[in-house]
């Protein structure tokens, strides 16, 4: 059996890649994908603990996270479409009307 720590390391690495991506990437869609990566890395942690201790709470949490991620995706892509329609760019550096 694969030890628990491997799963945790995997999820920590994925989470870090996602977090770094949000900070480094400049395209709104790419940033959004990195956020999804972070959420799914968290899901790995939940499932790993859940299966290691034979407990259902973690899996329940994953269900809820998946639903929330879908709702977030719908709203987030809607926002991205709205911004694209108004300015024809998805680069977050172009979104600078609000800087002083």
């Amino acid at each position: 059996m694969v030890p628990l720590s491997w799963y945790l390391a995997l999820s920590a690495v994925l989470f870090t890649i996602g977090a770094a991506g949000v900070i480094i990437k400049r395209n709104a869609i790419a940033m959004f994908m990195c956020i999804e990566l972070m959420l799914n890395a968290t899901n790995i942690t939940f499932v790993a603990f859940s299966s290691f201790f034979r407990d259902v709470t973690g899996q329940l949490f994953v269900f809820i996270v998946m639903t929330v991620a879908a709702a977030e995706a719908a709203v987030g892509l809607g926002i991205i479409i709205a911004i694209f329609r108004n300015r024809l760019s998805l680069d977050v550096d172009d979104a600078s009307v609000l800087k002083y």
Binding site: L39, T45, F46, F49, E72, V75, I80, A82, L98, Y100
Partner: protein, 524 residues
């Protein structure tokens, strides 16, 4: 399957779940669904009063059920097997959220018409956001808190971008969305780590129930994971309530979002964030005497929060001085106020005595109530003066309006003076309560920093008042019309500021008191 239906009667089955405890949330959510249906089935023209009215009725009904739970509920204090808890923290915060939402409905009723926006959608989103906030305060389990947070966040992302054709609104919405989901991911990862870390050596799986987390801290199988999880949770909540290193989204989002939405965001979600923050950290990682993991964890998060409070207050106030846009200035002011609330949170966390802790919690709730009212009042005036499309939000736009629109200028000045914390206003009482709670715990240095910050903040609050009354106006001024619903909202905030500033005793007593005392106060 039907044969088993008789084993337990339906009432018995529902009694286990205890739906009564969920009454306020259920009422608000049902009102939201109703508004949605009304929105779908009526024409847009006559919708505004209908949906606004339903929203207000729903919010008032929820408040009534909340008071009923507070005064006459004698049953169990947990519902859905520990997912929902009933305690003072929840009920007092719920009342704060309901006040915020009711004022926001009043503020937005005319505004949606000015901007030609769909009223039904806006009110439905507002109600769903309120239900989310209430779940954040009532959740006894990290799952519930996460769900409530997401319900709130997703609704507010949409509300921030509600003026679809405006580039500023789009941009605010996108920034809020990306940084909001980023922080949710941190919160979630923290939850996952705490869930795993609270497993026990005998094979008992971890837990996400806050009460059980508190019991298992010392027997945690993986203490380092526990610390990492708590840190992640702190980052997540720090983003949500806009404390200093995590505040970068606040000014842009507050400036770009439509002003009534900014008013709501500055008041409601911030208070909700603090409700969960307190729930998780005060009840999940509480003060303990015995040395061990729990004790180390407690002293660690208190130390971090002290630093955060100092940075937040200082950054918020110094940055606010430099702003030329009123909405941006108020955004930095809201960051500074998050810092003051953190002072109270530190006091509540550090209190070893249960009575002192409850007093500190009551102080924080009182501060957030006061802060919500005065922020909503300030943003109400900004909404009226900005006109449609948020065109006039620079400080120069406020030049010399004081004597031309005396009532608006008066209401704005009252809100600003209260935000500053001038005696006789609610802001003063809030600050006194929070700072004295911190002094009781011996945080003299922290309170000194907070008071110095208050002095600094006088510069930018008073500058606006000076600009309004003593600066010459360059162009012609035509006073804006103040619609009835907005006038009511403004009058309520001004009355609230003076009432809470001059006679705060009753409200504070309610927030501190146990349920029986409240029934006596209300004469039931």
């Amino acid at each position: 399957m039907n044969i088993y239906f008789g084993l337990q009667t339906a009432t018995q089955q529902f009694a286990d779940v205890n739906l009564w405890l969920l009454m306020p949330e259920l009422i608000v959510a049902s009102a939201g669904v109703l508004v949605m249906l009304v929105d779908a089935f009526t024409k847009r023209l006559d919708q505004r009063w209908l949906t606004g009215g339903i929203s207000l009725i729903g919010l008032v009904a929820a408040a009534v059920s909340c008071v009923w739970l507070w005064t006459s509920w004698t049953g169990p204090t947990e519902a859905f097997f520990g997912m929902i808890v009933l305690d003072r923290l929840r009920l007092s915060f719920t009342l704060v959220f309901l006040v915020v939402s009711a004022l926001s409905v009043l503020l937005s009723m005319i505004w949606v018409e000015w901007e030609r926006l769909p009223a039904g959608e806006f009110h439905a989103l507002l109600l769903f956001a309120t239900a989310g906030m209430m779940l954040m305060a009532s959740g006894g389990d990290l799952v519930m808190i996460f769900l409530g947070l997401e319900l709130l966040s997703i609704s507010t992302y949409v509300m921030a971008g509600f003026r679809r054709t405006d580039v500023r609104s789009n941009e605010a919405s996108m920034k809020y969305f990306i940084l909001g989901s980023f922080s949710s991911a941190f919160l979630l990862y923290g939850t996952a780590l705490v869930y795993g870390a609270t497993a026990m050596a005998n094979g008992t799986p971890g837990t996400t129930n806050i009460r059980e987390i508190a019991q298992r801290l010392d027997t945690a199988l993986y203490p380092p994971l526990l610390f990492a999880g708590a840190a992640m949770l702190l980052i997540g909540f720090g983003f949500k309530v806009a404390t200093a290193p995590f505040h970068v989204w606040t000014p842009d989002v507050y400036e770009g979002a439509p002003t009534p939405v900014t008013a709501f965001m500055a008041a409601g979600p911030k208070a909700a964030g603090f409700a969960s923050f307190m729930r998780v950290f005060l009840f999940g990682f509480p003060f303990v005497v015995a040395a061990g993991t729990a004790q180390r964890l407690h002293s660690a998060w208190i130390a971090v929060l002290v630093v955060l409070a100092v940075i937040t207050m200082t950054v918020g106030n110094t940055a606010a001085i430099l702003q030329s846009n009123v909405k941006r200035m108020l955004a930095y002011s809201s960051i500074a106020h998050a810092g003051y609330v953190l002072v109270g949170l530190v006091a509540a966390g550090a209190a070893s005595d249960l009575g002192q802790r409850n007093e500190a919690i009551a102080a924080v709730v009182f501060y957030l109530l006061v802060y919500s009212i005065m922020t909503l009042g300030a943003f109400a005036v900004v909404t009226i003066l900005a006109r449609s499309g948020d065109r006039r939000t620079e400080i120069e736009d406020y030049n010399g309006i004081g004597f031309d629109s005396p009532w608006l200028a008066f209401a704005f000045s009252v809100s600003l003076l209260s935000l500053l914390g001038v005696p006789l206003t609610a802001g003063f009482m809030g600050k006194v309560m929070v700072f004295s709670a911190a002094l009781d715990q011996g945080y003299v240095g922290l309170v000194v920093v907070a008071v110095l910050n208050t002095v600094v903040s006088a510069y930018y609050y008073l500058r606006l008042i000076v600009v309004m009354f003593f600066r010459e106006r360059s162009g012609a001024w035509n006073a804006p019309l103040v619609p009835a619903s907005m006038a009511i909202a403004l009058a309520l905030t001004v009355v609230g500021i003076f009432y809470l500033g001059i006679f705060p005793g009753r409200v504070i007593e309610v927030f501190q008191a146990s349920p029986s005392v409240i029934s006596r106060l209300l004469g039931t």
